[in-house]
Symmetry: D5
Subunit: 147 residues, 10 copies
Amino acid sequence: MDRAEVTRKIISAKVVNKMTWKHIADRIGQSKEWTTAAMLGQMTLNAQQAGVARELFNLTDEETAWLQIVPYKGSLATQVATDPLIYRWHEIVSVYGTTIKELIHEEFGDGIMSAIDFSMDIQREADPKGDRVNVVLSGKFLPYKSY
Amino acid sequence: MDRAEVTRKIISAKVVNKMTWKHIADRIGQSKEWTTAAMLGQMTLNAQQAGVARELFNLTDEETAWLQIVPYKGSLATQVATDPLIYRWHEIVSVYGTTIKELIHEEFGDGIMSAIDFSMDIQREADPKGDRVNVVLSGKFLPYKSY
Amino acid sequence: MDRAEVTRKIISAKVVNKMTWKHIADRIGQSKEWTTAAMLGQMTLNAQQAGVARELFNLTDEETAWLQIVPYKGSLATQVATDPLIYRWHEIVSVYGTTIKELIHEEFGDGIMSAIDFSMDIQREADPKGDRVNVVLSGKFLPYKSY
Amino acid sequence: MDRAEVTRKIISAKVVNKMTWKHIADRIGQSKEWTTAAMLGQMTLNAQQAGVARELFNLTDEETAWLQIVPYKGSLATQVATDPLIYRWHEIVSVYGTTIKELIHEEFGDGIMSAIDFSMDIQREADPKGDRVNVVLSGKFLPYKSY
Amino acid sequence: MDRAEVTRKIISAKVVNKMTWKHIADRIGQSKEWTTAAMLGQMTLNAQQAGVARELFNLTDEETAWLQIVPYKGSLATQVATDPLIYRWHEIVSVYGTTIKELIHEEFGDGIMSAIDFSMDIQREADPKGDRVNVVLSGKFLPYKSY
Amino acid sequence: MDRAEVTRKIISAKVVNKMTWKHIADRIGQSKEWTTAAMLGQMTLNAQQAGVARELFNLTDEETAWLQIVPYKGSLATQVATDPLIYRWHEIVSVYGTTIKELIHEEFGDGIMSAIDFSMDIQREADPKGDRVNVVLSGKFLPYKSY
Amino acid sequence: MDRAEVTRKIISAKVVNKMTWKHIADRIGQSKEWTTAAMLGQMTLNAQQAGVARELFNLTDEETAWLQIVPYKGSLATQVATDPLIYRWHEIVSVYGTTIKELIHEEFGDGIMSAIDFSMDIQREADPKGDRVNVVLSGKFLPYKSY
Amino acid sequence: MDRAEVTRKIISAKVVNKMTWKHIADRIGQSKEWTTAAMLGQMTLNAQQAGVARELFNLTDEETAWLQIVPYKGSLATQVATDPLIYRWHEIVSVYGTTIKELIHEEFGDGIMSAIDFSMDIQREADPKGDRVNVVLSGKFLPYKSY
Amino acid sequence: MDRAEVTRKIISAKVVNKMTWKHIADRIGQSKEWTTAAMLGQMTLNAQQAGVARELFNLTDEETAWLQIVPYKGSLATQVATDPLIYRWHEIVSVYGTTIKELIHEEFGDGIMSAIDFSMDIQREADPKGDRVNVVLSGKFLPYKSY
Amino acid sequence: MDRAEVTRKIISAKVVNKMTWKHIADRIGQSKEWTTAAMLGQMTLNAQQAGVARELFNLTDEETAWLQIVPYKGSLATQVATDPLIYRWHEIVSVYGTTIKELIHEEFGDGIMSAIDFSMDIQREADPKGDRVNVVLSGKFLPYKSY
């Protein structure tokens, strides 16, 4: 058994029982963004959170233990995106990647925007010309230093 | 001559003259995000915007004409990111890609978040534990329909 | 269980029972193009359509539920096409891709032809020198805008 | 000198002189689709067509000779598409590729749709909800035979 | 079940029963080249041919049905050849590919040699310095035309 | 200077002077297949053959010396074929590769068909339904032996 | 069943019964180099050799039959070596590949060193500064000829 | 200037002046194998050896300095071998790689054969059935140890 | 059965029984670094160490035998790292690789730092600004020599 | 002009003038590790450091300006390492990558070792059995947090 099998079991249970991520997140007690990532095998749950997941998805002792082990991360099965929604994100990085780099360096100097000390918030933005997806990404700036 | 050569000339001029993207954007009259992408060869300028760029970077007639031609987009020289700042964005898509997909579908149904009818805003977020980079991405939701 | 398993079951049932896609599409009540894509795991069915599929292919409750979940899209098993029919389409993009880009931009300006707000129609075109395959692709033009 | 250099010279001349592909096609006396592909280095011109190109783009003797040599085809510089417009076509093949294969085989049996005995027509389709790009692809069906 | 499983069953039966492809081809009533390709999952059998295969390899109803379905073609498990015999063919294309292209164009003009309207014949050629493999490939020439 | 530069010079001279490979082969005194491969940088010329090439293409001393050096072989610029004519040959190996392997082993046992002790002959084959390209490949069989 | 499964069974039996390749080669009656390659699925056994393998590894009729079928060769599971011992051999080819090519051509002219008419011998070479691995590779020289 | 330019200059000089590697090695005072690798940019020369190279190839001060700088090693321009002679060496590793690994471990236990503390000797081996290339590779065995 | 299956069993047992690598290493009697690598299938255990592992993880005879067989090394499932922690190490090699090469050559001359005669030590380094990971890598320098 | 050109100029000057990295670092006033990385185009210099570099390498105004611009990082020209010294580092990550991950998580929980808030120290470690390269890597631990 490994974490990927637990992930597959969670997704299957969610489809059969027609649960939403929002409902699961409310039960876990964290944001829907972090909770979905955790359930999809990208984050580590603590004992209390794993206990809630156990009830929600009817997990065994070993499956519950796996949720508390740091996972091997990377949620995409293939290197080259074939799913149109996920591809659009690669396209954003492809088209705007150098722009993001230039503007962060202009504001902060040499360094990076952390993907670890990081949070994300996804919201519907009502718009008469068609609703929009609004995504806010917040990452700590980490500077390079000389030594 | 092609657009890439014009881009290289613009970047060289910016380094030598120590200009900022913010200053260039103010002169062009658009956001710093769109302007930087345009100067880096990802967007098409209209005649008036190209005229401003001509002055700023001391461009020739042919170089100014190229700025008004729709470019072949894709700002990254290599497929696999080696720059640490740009890699963090690939990592965000790798770790959170399936989360983003699940949550957009939960809210909107089948479809995508557009990377064309799209805008981006990058800001410094002051934080006592270390300032953060705050990026807002806004893309129109486009639904799949049956026919 | 995942959507790919449901797809394999549908294809197997179609082979054994010698059904045609046209017949299946008539039962589902959509075009043969959309229906085939949906059955091959690329589109999301609504409850009524999934109910018809259930009867046609003798699906279980869980399999029927999966048909109504937005799938991870991308119908080709490998990145590099080995099937001669599918390769010809990659060849069309390879040989005519820049032509298509130039002519759409000449007519519409900077933007793309949508692959989401999109439909396709495949017909036999009788021809004394050998019948032809006639494919009509229709996609909404989405313009880039400055901001 | 090779064909790619001639192509670059033609594109440069077109940008500087603000010509359209439609105008060039009228002068060459073929469709805008074939003519654009030919000018972009994908088709072979005959002596008369090459003579027109010579005048239009102010070509030398050697450059005019190259236009009449069968080119090494493939118009895209990189294997993985980074340009959003061209990528959408790869996405169409990725999502609908198996659908196209199934429906052509259902209608014609085993064989392919030719990309050689092939023509293409790109038109604007007016639509109150936003104009559409309409692309018609016509390729001869070539059957596999046993021997 | 899919076509690949039927192929594996046929190959296993052939090994256990020590049959030759020549014998199988005689029973099917086609050349050994076409028959071997068909049995290896690259060609579509008609009902009568599939009936013979059924007897030869003791196939079920469903397996016999799969032989009459147009297969996804491509007989090699990996993109990069590791088998020395198959690699020599890639080497022939690598070393002589441009030669073949030049000589076909010199004789026929722009176009291709069809791999669909195609046949192959493999024979032993006795030679005192060591017997040779003699392979004849015959493909219809398909010209590009302007439109 | 390297061999690739000599090849480019030879090709340029051939285009400008409208020579044919057949004519060049007659002057070199070898088959058109071997001669074309040699001129395209795949074979080594002896001093007499290099002397003829020198006259034909107006080569310098150093260029003539390079023709007599064993070249780094491999005539295709990219690993993945984009040219439709050359791709058809990859397709033949992809679809018929396992068939070729099976039939050679059935006739000869374990071993390979040499691509070194090898010759090729390309001819037009008149056919009322459209002329065909006829290619004969002849390679010595080399057996694996135990030791 | 295929040859790979037989290979796995042979390796498993060897581990459980703590046999050495030298012992197996003595029983088969060939060198340890050829025998190991054969047992690892790279060479074809004759009936007598397969009979010995049957006894040694307790094989079934079908497994014994597979050992006498010409295998699809290539012993490495992945294209890019991750095993340090095997990587050193790729490194030898990477660093010394051009040297080997130059020196063989200097001695023999244009052609190759055969990997088919080939044998290998691996011995321990005692050395006070640390024992060495001594590998002798012997391959027939095959010349390219013009035709 | 970098080492690759010096290598190109040395190779050009060798072609123009029709030198052999054996002659160059005699002058340098090392084996022909090490000397060729060094001249092809894979090894570092000492001051005395670089001085000989300077005379032989008429090098400048800076070029002579580069020969004494440790180079970035890897003599092959592309990852995938297209040259038939070099490919045969990849094939040896592909077919015999696991055999080599098994036999070295059987003799020495866990560890590797060094490609650094390594030497190579290439000789012609006369043989009435056709001369052979004989290559001896000698590398120190380096054991893994626990700690 | 192969070594990878034994590795999976060991990891599963460790998760279920909530053991630490430090505890396992104390029982095995080696460093935590070597022991973890060995348990993850990268090192070879001797009979005594394998006996301890047998008890700890409740292994069978065959599983215990596999631990004493030299493994095929390479602990990462995919070539391109998707796990953020492991990626940071690829980034260190990408950003500092040439620096490491330059400084080792400056100190030692041409040669390498061994990854075989190698040890590693990982420690927590307390730091008021946030604790640090301190990794010491020690590898024997192996010089290239001429011959 | 771009940063890569400045890097090439610096390296050339260092070879011609036989400078050491240690000497350059002393002049710049930082560690030899950081200074070498900076000179190789991986770090950003401040105005004072750039001024020292200007003198040392005789740089122009524009070249000095480029040293103060945040570079696109990634010091290796190719994705797949061919240099033996650099490859050993990829091998360390390949063999020990999962070990490093397990031990950092065991000590610190979920998170990463930073490659930005990072320093490196390379020293010779005298050893009677052959001197060793000792590398100390120190990176801040950054924890994942739920939100």
